[in-house]
């Protein structure tokens, strides 16, 4: 399998069923726990899928609005993470289809550079290593940004989020074979974009 040194970003332990039951009733304390547990993972996913901070902030807010509205549908017996992540992916897909997103992509600013953010948030006092990692992050992020959203999603969900092709297919509303094909195309395109830059 194409298993890289697997890092599943955004994997978080589920909340207890009792808490989820209270979330169903929109209990403020339980909602707070749900938010604290899952918000960063949702934000990270939408950021990687959309590639810009303003769009990611809008999308993450939208996801939690949908969660609030549909809280009564939550199954307390199951981990809510897949449900949340499906909502997150769907919100991103809706955004890709909108003209506003296409316009905002053209105006993406350097402030959205994840390398800058990585440097600011790494916390480790190793400036040189941070700078190198940040530079690499920036290059990969830029290359991903150049891919069409659907290709980007295939590679981000599979390689960054650690999802199987079957899960990616379900998340993107595709057949399994189509998801694999899309991933292959995305990876080939990304390899071309990154050629000679990662040394």
């Amino acid at each position: 399998m194409t298993g890289p040194p697997s890092r599943s970003h955004g994997a978080v332990p589920p909340l207890e069923p009792a808490v989820l039951e209270r979330v169903r009733n929109r209990d403020p304390e339980a909602l707070g726990l749900l938010f604290e547990r899952y918000f960063d993972a949702v934000y990270a996913r939408v950021y990687r899928l959309l590639g810009e901070r303003p769009a990611a902030e809008d999308a993450a807010s939208e996801v939690f609005l949908k969660v609030y509205r549909a809280a009564h549908q939550l199954d307390p017996g199951r981990d809510p993470a897949p449900w949340l992540m499906t909502i997150a992916t769907n919100v991103c897909r809706d955004l890709w289809r909108s003209g506003a997103y296409r316009m905002s992509r053209r105006a993406a600013s350097a402030l959205d550079d994840p390398a800058v953010e990585a440097r600011l948030t790494s916390g480790a006092n190793e400036p040189e290593r941070d700078a190198l990692a940040g530079e690499r992050d920036r290059m990969v992020h830029e290359a991903l940004q150049q891919l069409p959203p659907q290709l980007r999603a295939a590679v981000v969900l599979h390689d960054w989020q650690g999802m199987s092709h079957q899960e990616v297919a379900a998340a993107l509303g595709l057949e399994h074979a189509a998801a694999r094909k899309r991933y292959s195309r995305a990876l080939a395109a990304l390899a071309k974009l990154l050629k000679g830059k990662l040394k």
């Binding site: 399998m1 040194p5 403020p28 609005l65 609030y68 990969v140 992020h141 092709h165 390899a191 071309k192």
Partner: protein, 268 residues
């Protein structure tokens, strides 16, 4: 086969895959996170999002409005000067909005502001100037579509037409970089800064007299343009070959008179 195998990937693809896998986890801005958390718990996220959208829309509208206002100001500032009358004799027939008006005095200036068709009686004359840019003198019997004065910075091409009669043209300092095309039924004189006369007679055709500078005359279909240097004239008879000859003295005198009259207004 449900997943791709390691061996299916090229080394570059493996490298790209590992690079994506090693990407950092972006973290939200703390203030934003706190704001969303508060609204989510309080059940007011919808209004928060709506407020944010309204603010974004307002911001966008403000930016668009400012850009539009700036564009309008730029367009207004870019506009070349209006024609002013230096001297007018007799009645001037000006075509304004499809109606021919017989005008005299200050009414003439009002009618010809941005260029219009002007016809003069045999005993009439009209000297006008677009300050700093262009001066024109029309003799009696002239039927001319006045060019508007070229704009200041962009869209600096102007176009006029001499249907019949004599038109004398002189450019000023602010004309530099602009172009003027004066057409007749036979030819077009392309002007980039000069003193010239465009004389048109129904039988004899067009004569372009150049006193100073340099004019290119194009005439007929598929014929090469003719450069006309200072001190020369280009005669374009209807359907005939263009001919270069020395400038007409009458044209030279008329252009000298025009230059004297308009010197101050043209900033010479």
């Amino acid at each position: 086969m449900s997943e791709l195998h390691e061996s299916d990937l090229t080394p570059a693809e493996r490298e790209a895959r590992d690079a994506v896998s090693a990407l950092s986890s972006p973290r939200p801005d703390a203030a934003y996170r706190q704001r969303v958390a508060r609204a989510f718990v309080a059940g007011s996220l919808e209004s928060t999002i709506r407020t944010r959208r309204v603010l974004a829309l307002r911001e966008w509208l403000a930016v668009v409005g400012a850009a539009a206002a700036l564009a309008l100001v730029a367009l207004a500032l870019n506009r070349g000067p209006d024609w002013r009358v230096i001297e007018a004799h007799g009645v001037v027939f000006a075509e304004v909005d499809g109606r021919v008006l017989a005008l005299a005095g200050t009414d003439v200036e009002y009618a010809i502001r941005r260029g219009t068709r002007v016809r003069l009686p045999k005993d009439g004359s009209l000297d006008i100037v677009a300050p700093g840019v262009l001066a024109m003198s029309l003799e009696g019997g002239a039927d001319v579509v006045l060019p508007r004065a070229p704009n200041r910075w962009w869209w600096r091409a102007a176009r006029g037409r001499v249907n019949v009669g004599n038109a004398f043209i002189s450019t000023g300092r602010a004309f530099h970089g602009a172009t003027l095309a004066m057409a007749t039924p036979e030819a077009v004189a392309h002007v980039t800064g000069t003193s010239l006369a465009v004389l048109r007679d129904r039988e004899a055709g067009t004569c372009v007299c150049v006193m100073a500078g340099h004019v290119i005359v194009s005439y007929g279909q598929g014929r090469e343009s003719v450069p006309v240097p200072a001190g020369k004239r280009c005669i374009c008879p209807p359907g005939g070959e263009a001919e270069i000859a020395p400038i007409l003295h009458d044209s030279e005198h008329a252009l000298h008179r025009l230059n004297e009259k308009s010197a101050a207004a043209l900033g010479r």
